[in-house]
C-alpha cells in the first residue's frame, strides 16, 4: 500500500506514452463522439452567454475572453470525465495497468490527449467567438494560439488527475467540477486576462506576465500530476 511494487520496464516512458496516446486518439477518431459532444456544448455555452446578457454588444465584446475560457472550462469537465469513462467500460483500466508500462505514462497520455482535444475545441471556438461577440484579434494570432495551448495544458494536467479520481467515486459528475473549479482558478484567470489583452490590445505590456503565470501553473501541475498519478491508480 505504501510503495508501488516494481513493475517490469519493458518499454520506455516516452514510447509507452505515445502508444497509449495513439490508442486514445484512435478510439476518439473512430467515433468522434466526445469531440462532437464538447463542440456543441461549448458552442451552446457561448450562445447562452449572449442570450443571458442580452444583445449588448459592448458588454459581450469586453468580456469575450472570459466567456471563451468559461466555455472551454465547462466543456473540459465533460471531456475529462469521458476520458476515463472509456477505460472503466469492460475494465480497460485494469488492462492498461497490467501492461508493462509506467503508470506515469497513463497520466501523460491521458493529459496530452485531453490537451489536444481541448486545443482543437478552442481553435474551433475562436472564429465563432469573433463572429458572435464582434471582437478583433488585435495583437497577433500567435499570442492567441500560445495562450490557447498553455491554457488547455493547464486545464488538462490537474483535470486528468481529478478525473481519474472522480471516475471511480460515487457522484462523479458532481465531484469533478467541485474539485477542479477552485483549482484551475489561477489558470482560468490568467488565460482569460491574456485573451482579453489579445482581443483589446496590450498597451501596458502585461501579456507576458500572464503568460508566465500560466507557464508556472503548468510546470507545477504537470510535475505534481506526474509524481502523484501512480498513487491514484494503484490498487
Amino acid at each position: 500500500m505504501s510503495t508501488t511494487p516494481p513493475r517490469p520496464r519493458a518499454i520506455g516512458l516516452v514510447a509507452a506514452t505515445l502508444a497509449l496516446l495513439r490508442k486514445d486518439l484512435l478510439i476518439e477518431w473512430r467515433t468522434r463522439a466526445r469531440l462532437n459532444a464538447i463542440i456543441f456544448f461549448a458552442l451552446a455555452t457561448l450562445l447562452m452567454f449572449s442570450f443571458a446578457l442580452g444583445p449588448d454588444t459592448k458588454l459581450l465584446e469586453k468580456n469575450a475572453g472570459g466567456y471563451f475560457w468559461l466555455a472551454i472550462l465547462f466543456a473540459s469537465v465533460l471531456a475529462l470525465g469521458e476520458s476515463f469513462r472509456v477505460e472503466s467500460e469492460n475494465a480497460c483500466m485494469d488492462g492498461v495497468r497490467l501492461a508493462p508500462a509506467d503508470a506515469r505514462a497513463i497520466f501523460l497520455s491521458k493529459a496530452l490527449g485531453n490537451t489536444l482535444l481541448l486545443t482543437a475545441l478552442g481553435a474551433l471556438l475562436v472564429p465563432v467567438m469573433v463572429a458572435l461577440y464582434g471582437v478583433r484579434i488585435v495583437t497577433s494570432f500567435m499570442d492567441l494560439g500560445l495562450i490557447l495551448l498553455l491554457g488547455c495544458l493547464a486545464l488538462s494536467a490537474p483535470g486528468t488527475v481529478y478525473a481519474a479520481i472522480s471516475s471511480n467515486a460515487r457522484a462523479r459528475d458532481v465531484l469533478l467540477p467541485l474539485l477542479l473549479f477552485p483549482l484551475v482558478i489561477p489558470a482560468l484567470l490568467s488565460a482569460a486576462k491574456a485573451t482579453t489583452l489579445v482581443l483589446q490590445g496590450d498597451p501596458m505590456n502585461q501579456f507576458n506576465s500572464w503568460l508566465g503565470l500560466l507557464g508556472g501553473f503548468n510546470l507545477i501541475y504537470w510535475g505534481v500530476g506526474f509524481v502523484l498519478f501512480p498513487r491514484i491508480i494503484e490498487d
Partner: protein, 237 residues
C-alpha cells in the same frame, strides 16, 4: 489521565477565550481609526490563524500519508480538514462583517478574502470526496493527493488574485499596533489554539474509530453478528 488532559484542554481553552475576549471587549482601547469595530480583531484573527494551522496539519498529514500509510495519519487529515473548514468559515464570516463598517461592503475582491473563499471551496471538495469513496484505502490515498494539490494551489491563487487586482490597489505601509491590543489578541489566540486542539483530539479519535470499524467490517459481516453491530460503524453518507 487522558480524560483529564482532554477536559482540562477544554476548560483552559474556554477560560483563555473568555479572558481574551473580555480584555478585547472591555479593557483594550478602541482603535484610532476604526473605533470599537476594531474589537472584531480579537475573534477574527485567532479564527484565521487556527484555520491556517489546521490546514497546515492537513497538508503535513497528507504528505506523510503518501510516504507511510497509516489510519492515524488519514484520521488526522480528516479531522484537521473539517476543523479548518469550520474555523475558516467562521473567520470569513467575521471578516465580511468587519468589512462592512470599514470598507463599506461585506465583500471586496481582496486577495486575502478571495484566496480564503477558494480555500474553503477546495476543502469542501476534499471532504465531499471523502464521503463519496467507500473503500477506506482508496479514500485515504486519493484524498491525500487532493489535499496536497489543493494546498499547493493556495499560494498560486494568492499571487494570481493579487496580480489580477494589482492595477488598482495601493500597497499599504506598516503601522505599529498598540501594545494594549497585543495582549488580548495573544490571549484569545491561545484560547482558540486550545479549543482547536480539543476539537482536533475529539474528531481524530472519532475518525480513527470509524476507520477501524470500516476495516474490521468485512470480517464482521458473515456470521451471526447482531444487526446493530454491523450498523454502528456505518457513517451517515
Amino acid at each position: 489521565m487522558n480524560k483529564f488532559i482532554k477536559w482540562g484542554l477544554l476548560v483552559l481553552a474556554l477560560g483563555l477565550l473568555g479572558a481574551g475576549w473580555w480584555l478585547g471587549l472591555a479593557w483594550a482601547p478602541p482603535d484610532r481609526e476604526m473605533g470599537d469595530v476594531q474589537r472584531i480583531m480579537y475573534v477574527h484573527v485567532p479564527l484565521q490563524w487556527m484555520a491556517m494551522l489546521a490546514m497546515f496539519i492537513n497538508f503535513v498529514a497528507a504528505v506523510a500519508y503518501l510516504f507511510k500509510a497509516s489510519w492515524k495519519l488519514d484520521s488526522a487529515a480528516e479531522a484537521s480538514a473539517e476543523i479548518g473548514l469550520v474555523l475558516g468559515t467562521a473567520g470569513m464570516i467575521t471578516g465580511a462583517i468587519w468589512g462592512r463598517p470599514t470598507w463599506g461592503v461585506y465583500w471586496s475582491w481582496d486577495p486575502r478574502l478571495t484566496s480564503e473563499a477558494i480555500m474553503l471551496v477546495t476543502y469542501t471538495g476534499y471532504l465531499v470526496l471523502r464521503r463519496f469513496v467507500e473503500d477506506p484505502e482508496k479514500r485515504a490515498t486519493w484524498s491525500a493527493v487532493v489535499a496536497i494539490i489543493g494546498a499547493i494551489n493556495l499560494p498560486i491563487v494568492w499571487f494570481s488574485v493579487r496580480w489580477w487586482r494589482s492595477l488598482h490597489q495601493v500597497q499599504s505601509s506598516p503601522r505599529t499596533v498598540d501594545p494594549e491590543m497585543v495582549l488580548p489578541l495573544r490571549v484569545s489566540a491561545f484560547g482558540m489554539l486550545f479549543i482547536t486542539l480539543f476539537f482536533m483530539a475529539v474528531r481524530y479519535r472519532q475518525a480513527l474509530a470509524e476507520r477501524q470499524a470500516e476495516v474490521a467490517l468485512p470480517d464482521a459481516l458473515p456470521g451471526d453478528v447482531p444487526m446493530s453491530a454491523s450498523h454502528n460503524p456505518s457513517k451517515v453518507a
